[in-house]
């Protein structure tokens, strides 16, 4: 799991040298958004237990879960309240980010 983070960060570092400012900026955003989830779900999405890990699910399942929490069709204690704060683009970015971890 940690490897993924380091690789992504390293990839980002390289891209900064090569790519234009705008492209680099776009790259930085999904992982910042995703890092917001780590405080409850574990560093790089690898949970110590109790709360679900996020690093082993395909993107479409992450997106479905978040959307179901958001609509209320999936009951929860807290995720319904949190998911309502994220828009479609953010949910898609989170799903893609964590989904790519799971496939590795």
């Amino acid at each position: 799991m940690k490897k993924v983070g380091v690789c992504l960060a390293a990839a980002l570092g390289f891209s900064l040298m090569a790519a234009s400012a705008n492209a680099s900026e776009l790259l930085a955003k999904p992982e910042l958004l995703a890092s917001n989830c780590f405080n409850c779900h574990g560093y790089n999405g690898a949970s110590a237990g109790v709360i679900d890990e996020l690093d082993s699910l395909p993107a479409r399942r992450i997106a479905k879960k978040l959307n179901d929490f958001k609509s209320g069709s999936k009951p929860s204690t807290i995720m319904g309240r949190i998911a309502k704060g994220y828009n479609d683009a953010e949910i898609a970015a989170l799903a893609k980010y964590f989904g790519s971890m799971g496939s590795k």
Binding site: A9, A21, C40, R81, A83
Partner: protein
């Protein structure tokens, strides 16, 4: 916005020198340690030095569980070894005594002068002792505040253990704004749990400087269910505000009454940590104004302030808030050093409190920068519902423990 303008100018000469850009972080708590680790996470090519006086950090979150006797002190204490060995952060155990914003240098007690390109300051809180006659650092050795975790927490626990059955524990929460808004009330809950289990004839009197508090309905619902014979809460409007402390005799003095306690836990009014004042980062409120896009100080350029010391509008002063602010700040610091415009990010805060070992409550919010400040997204977040049964409350208590394990690993792991 304000921060972005300076970014591109700062970046070029650094890269030109062939030297790594340097970020210095003051403080190894929830904000500082997260920021240090995440600057490296976002960009391993930046040199990060974190300066923290203590070799270990004891967290305020979950210190109430230690006070209640359901958690060990070791389990809430974390070292910095992983930050140094696994994440490449240069950890320096020293105390920053001065910041030269113009010369971009910090000076430590040990005599070191350390240069930075960007400085991240996460100094936590200090106490406004001048507001309460009879209460100062010396009095705190008799009447602990235990609002910075460590020896103070152990002292309060020892006093609680020594207390006779049938004794009176007086807890005096501070006025707003302060570190961890639900904290004093979780503490009351955990102390009450201990008393109910071990010293059932005892009472807990809360003398409050306020008329309302965080998770108000949820705490009062839980207290009614579990501690109706133990906890009495006195709001400021009913003479709850402690105006003076007689530390030697453990007496809390309000406008009309003197409350003699067996154990007195007075939590003073607060302000930003000392180094924030020394560095000139505070305004007239005693806290630090910042730009919410980058957490850069609006007073000093190239210095960012995060955590309890920062003025974050609606975002509470909490360890979890400091953690998410630190990530946004770290990403912005990297962007600015590399000459990119930081975006406008989203952060969140999640805060659990325990009322009994198996009865949890929560509040959460997702925050965005707005023209009115840093605000929760409308329609999202909020409190966990009232009137829920034991199953729901047990789940929240379980998730509280899951949160602690994961955030501790996210920061110090």
């Amino acid at each position: 916005m304000a921060g972005a303008a300076g970014a591109s100018a700062a970046a070029l000469p650094l890269i030109g020198c062939g030297e790594k850009p340097k970020v210095v972080v003051i403080g190894g708590g929830f904000g500082g340690a997260t920021a240090a680790k995440y600057v490296k996470w976002f960009d391993p090519g930046i040199d990060v030095t974190m300066i923290e006086p203590n070799k270990q950090f004891t967290t305020c979150p979950f210190s109430n569980l230690y006070l209640g006797g359901i958690r060990s002190f070791d389990s809430i204490t974390h070292g910095f070894e992983a930050m140094a060995n696994k994440h490449g952060v240069n950890v320096v155990h020293d105390m920053v005594t001065a910041v030269d914003a113009a010369g971009k240098t910090v000076t430590t007690k040990g005599g070191a002068k350390i240069k930075y390109d960007r400085l991240i300051v996460s100094p936590g809180i200090d106490f406004r002792y001048e507001l309460t006659p009879g209460y100062d650092a010396e009095a705190a050795e008799m009447v602990p505040h235990a609002w910075k975790a460590g020896p103070q927490t152990k002292l309060l626990r020892a006093q609680l253990e020594d207390m006779r059955d049938g004794g009176l524990f007086v807890l005096a929460p501070p006025p707003n704004p302060f570190r961890c808004p639900p904290g004093p009330y979780e503490r009351a809950s955990m102390i009450a749990h201990y008393l109910k289990t071990n010293k059932p004839k005892s009472k807990l009197l809360i003398l409050d400087a306020k008329d309302k508090f965080s998770k108000f309905g949820l705490f009062r619902e839980g207290w009614k269910k579990h501690y109706s014979d133990i906890i009495e809460w006195v709001p400021a409007s009913k003479d709850g505000k402690v105006r003076e402390v007689d530390a030697k005799n453990k007496v809390a003095i309000t406008e009309f009454e003197k409350h003699k306690a067996d154990v007195l836990n007075f939590i003073p009014a607060q302000k930003a940590g000392k180094i924030a004042f020394a560095a000139g980062l505070t305004n007239q409120t005693g806290w630090c104004p910042v730009n919410f896009q980058t957490w850069e100080s609006t007073i000093h350029k190239d210095i960012h302030v995060i955590g309890d010391a920062a003025i974050a509008t609606k975002m509470p002063k909490s360890g979890n808030a400091a953690n998410t602010q630190a990530k946004v700040c770290a990403a912005a610091v990297v962007d600015m050093i590399r000459g990119r415009d930081p975006g406008t990010p989203t952060t969140s805060n999640t805060c659990y409190s325990l009322i009994t070992p198996n009865y949890g409550i929560s509040v959460t919010a997702v925050y965005r920068q707005t023209d009115k400040g840093y605000m929760g997204v409308a329609g999202a977040g909020g409190l966990s519902p009232m009137g829920e049964g034991p199953k729901f409350r047990a789940l929240e208590a379980k998730y509280a423990r899951g949160w602690y394990a994961n955030i501790a690993a996210d920061i110090w792991g």
